[in-house]
Symmetry: C2
Subunit: 184 residues, 2 copies
């Protein structure tokens, strides 16, 4: 565990957006995706949960340390937040509250906060090593849902690109509890 978690200011966040080439056109693309995804969120989550459930090293997060079985209550509680996270990401209001929420999501992945929100007995931590590799399946499987809004292919591509950029920045923020402040 890190001795002290990095503080991330709105000025720091601006540099992350710039590093990912994330700009106003990406905010617009995310908001366009919000309408497209709004009534598809449960279907998206079905695909993502299917993927996570298919890989033992990923489903391990949800395995109750007593029974050795996936905790369906935990899976369900996370799913509710996961759906809200899709809508919040697509709403693209990247203010102080959003930044604080990303750091909170990071805590819920790390041993400093995992299991506490839901009062469960899952694995102690989501290992850092899986946080970023899963961004490929997450973004790749989102694209067919983005395409269902009837937008031209270049706009669907723009939405998919905006989702990839925002996730690279978000998961970087989620990583804050994993990395000593001076190295973050």
């Amino acid at each position: 565990m890190s001795d002290a978690m990095a503080e991330v200011t709105m000025a720091d966040l601006e540099k992350l957006w710039a590093s990912a080439l994330f700009g106003e056109e990406d905010v617009a693309a995310l908001r366009a995706s919000r309408e497209v995804l709004d009534d598809q969120v449960e279907d998206v989550l079905d695909v993502w949960y299917g993927f996570i459930g298919s890989q033992p090293q990923l489903v391990a997060t949800f395995v109750d340390q007593g029974s050795g079985q996936p905790d369906t209550r935990y899976l369900g509680a996370v799913r509710t937040r996961f759906g809200q996270w899709v809508r919040d990401t697509a709403a693209a209001v990247f203010d102080e509250a959003w930044l604080a929420q990303q750091l909170e999501i990071g805590r819920r992945h790390h041993r400093i906060g995992k299991n506490l929100t839901d009062g469960v007995n899952g694995s102690a931590i989501v290992p850092f090593r899986y946080l970023f590799p899963v961004l490929f399946p997450i973004t790749h499987t989102l694209k067919p849902f983005l395409a269902k809004g009837g937008h031209p292919p270049e706009q669907v591509d723009a939405m998919a690109a905006a989702w990839l950029k925002v996730l690279l920045v978000q998961v970087t923020l989620w990583s804050a509890p994993y990395v000593p402040a001076e190295d973050f």
Copy 2:
């Protein structure tokens, strides 16, 4: 600095590939990209260096702590390795030597190894926060180069997807010195 750096085995690496949905078809796509990129590597590096040079928080890596100016010798030495890294990634021989090399690249980003290889006086560390956000510009700007080989669009897409997957896994490995072993 982490107390102990995580050890990553070939079995661990297999789980990272699986988490990114990276498979044999991606190895083939990377190798196809090798021929396409072979005589374009310097042009790719021009674009990437142009991007890094345009963002103060990224060029900071190369700023000599004495003069306050970018160190052209350091930039040049890294550029030579960067070109070799493009060819090595496209060669897609993901064996023990490759895995060891990724952990070495991680050390050269982190304060435990940065500046030592080239005997320079740059910033003490590449901050973790920038490692992943730049994967969007890096992969996005690669795609036009991948398209120049005359492959059908779906094969160019497959090459671009394979590059994104392999970079998510590689930069995860480069992060090992940043994350305490028990959290990695």
